[in-house]
């Protein structure tokens, strides 16, 4: 079998969740690293012409894009036997995992991004408040459990896995506070536990690399924003 390849960027948690999944499955892979500031490679543009975004999984000629689609692909292609299951087996539990994964990406990730980018003052306060509401839903999902699906780490943990490491960088650079331990005690406990799992920890980009990336990226995005009238 040809070795799996993933096109990634060094700082994107959408990519790290794929690495975690492949490691959980015990699969070997190679990384091809894109540099956000140097422009996109021919390989990325050819592999994901629709969205032109990382991550992309290259599996012996088959090309799969979009991180949650890739996670499901990995779980369906390498299943049974000794392969670690990512999604639960029960159809209703699978539906719940998919619902909350979509919610976590649509509302929590993009809520936090928007709060970072928002202008100081009323715009930022409103963006933070909306994101806090979304995190409150996520807090309820993890209450009383070690992982989102119960006793074992799975799909939704990987999707929410940016929270323990990336969110504090976003808070620092964006001048916001989202992840308050008193407001989200269960999510905090989960985060501290999740980040210490060796397989999870070993894929994390160094914090200073993330800080530098977000400073440059925030500045680049802000310079593209139209000035208010």
């Amino acid at each position: 079998m040809a070795k799996l390849k993933i096109i990634v960027s060094a700082t994107s948690f959408f990519c790290t969740r794929i690495e975690w999944a492949l490691k959980l499955k015990g699969l070997e892979y190679e990384l091809t690293v894109e540099d956000w500031f140097k422009g996109k490679t021919e390989l990325l543009l050819k592999s994901n012409p629709v969205h032109k975004k990382v991550p992309v999984l290259l599996d012996d000629g088959d090309v799969i894009a979009e991180s949650k689609v890739i996670l499901e692909y990995i779980d369906e292609k390498w299943k049974g036997g000794d392969f670690y299951p990512l999604l639960p087996q029960d159809p209703y539990e699978r539906a719940q995992a998919r619902f909350w994964a979509q919610f976590a990406d649509d509302k929590c990730v993009f809520g936090a991004f928007e709060a970072c980018l928002a202008e100081d003052g009323e715009e930022k306060e409103k963006a933070v408040e909306t994101t806090l509401e979304s995190f409150t839903y996520l807090e309820k999902q993890i209450e009383g459990k070690k992982f989102f699906a119960g006793d074992k780490m799975g799909y939704l943990d990987l999707v929410a896995g940016w929270i323990p490491h990336w969110l504090s960088v976003m808070e620092e650079i964006g001048g916001i506070k989202i992840f308050d331990a008193e407001r989200f005690p269960s999510l905090h406990e989960w985060a501290q536990n999740f980040i210490e799992i060796p397989l999870i920890k070993e894929c994390l980009p160094p914090r200073d690399v993330l800080v530098n990336h977000y400073i440059r990226r925030l500045s680049a995005v802000r310079s593209l924003k139209p000035n208010k009238p």
Copy 2:
């Protein structure tokens, strides 16, 4: 087994795709119909407190929201034997179906909505152009095939199933032209074929009901839009 219930609105294709799936599976169901203009019922607010949106599937105490999540649930709960398969069996083909379903909803549906809502002139032209680009990708997916997955109707056909019936209403009310037969010949052939399948046809809301709904809804949404400075 308690009868399945779906909370729907009479005009939403996100709901009709669930009805199609249940009919393909040979499952009986009851409809609870929401009225977009009368406000949301207690049942909807209790069943989908996160998004407060139709469709919602009620399956003997289990509640599932978000139309693509519901489609996968239906396919996973009622599978094997005589049950009609919605998604392909091969992991790569499943990944492709999921990728394009997400694309069709994110880019084609919301592209068409935005083109309808856009102000006449440059804003509308740009929104139409973007949506046409998205439809070009979808056209390539159906070229040379009867259905998106090949010879048999499946998941992606249901997700794209709004195109043959709803899009022309959106074009009429929004003053736009997207679905040109010369530009999208394969998609047109698929659409004409799909809409004539009896099981598909019998779930379609009457065109005049859709026209009235979109006129009222467009007017309501426009009145909420902030005036330009």
